[in-house]
Symmetry: C2
Amino acid sequence: MDVLKRKSEILKAISQPTRLRILEILREGERCVCDMIPQLGEEQANVSKHLSILRQAGLVDFRKNGVSSFYRTRYGEIYKIIDLAEEIVKKEVLKTAELVKEMGLKR
Amino acid sequence: MDVLKRKSEILKAISQPTRLRILEILREGERCVCDMIPQLGEEQANVSKHLSILRQAGLVDFRKNGVSSFYRTRYGEIYKIIDLAEEIVKKEVLKTAELVKEMGLKR
DNA sequence: TGACAATATTACTATATTGTAAAACAATAT
DNA sequence: ATATTGTTTTACAATATAGTAATATTGTCA
């Protein structure tokens, strides 16, 4: 097994916008697909496909109860990763704000 | 600006195997493109393109010195993200190892 | 100036990804 | 048995991405 490729797969699976939103929902704990669909406002088939990508990437577990499927995240690290990405965004915003401030002063 | 989209962009930029390798080289500090190419064993044009993707994603800074370009990482968070992905891989390996052990005992 | 070296860009092809629509499944209710 | 509900899978079209080859750009040096 190639660790590099595996790391790439994991990060790629996390990186897609709809999947980020799914993971955000699962941050709270186990959730039924039927609950995710309205929250996401995406086609049911689309949600299902993104869930299957997260499954294939080994990032989520799921169990079936009757006709319903319940998903949950497998690794807390996923959220640490997402939060770090958010920190980068925050830093960017901060940098831009400072730049604006500087430009303002120089008028 | 859409934070979700930006997070997605950042993680996607990091997730590609060749770019992960580039970022691994830059972990040590600023590096010249001319040093990266032989280390990566990839086409010059390909390396250049991946660097431009990292630039566009705002993850690296670069400066020119004569004909050479020197790149460096902009955010330490990038490496925290990569290391967390590696932790997930390690956990997976551990799980598999335990499974193998269990199966071994049950023979 | 002209040649060379390092890097970036463009053009192109092959492959992957996303979203949607339609069909298939499986569990439950009628 | 048939219908219904929740979910997954398949098929397809549009778009994005990665890699390679060729070309352009820029700085340096003879």
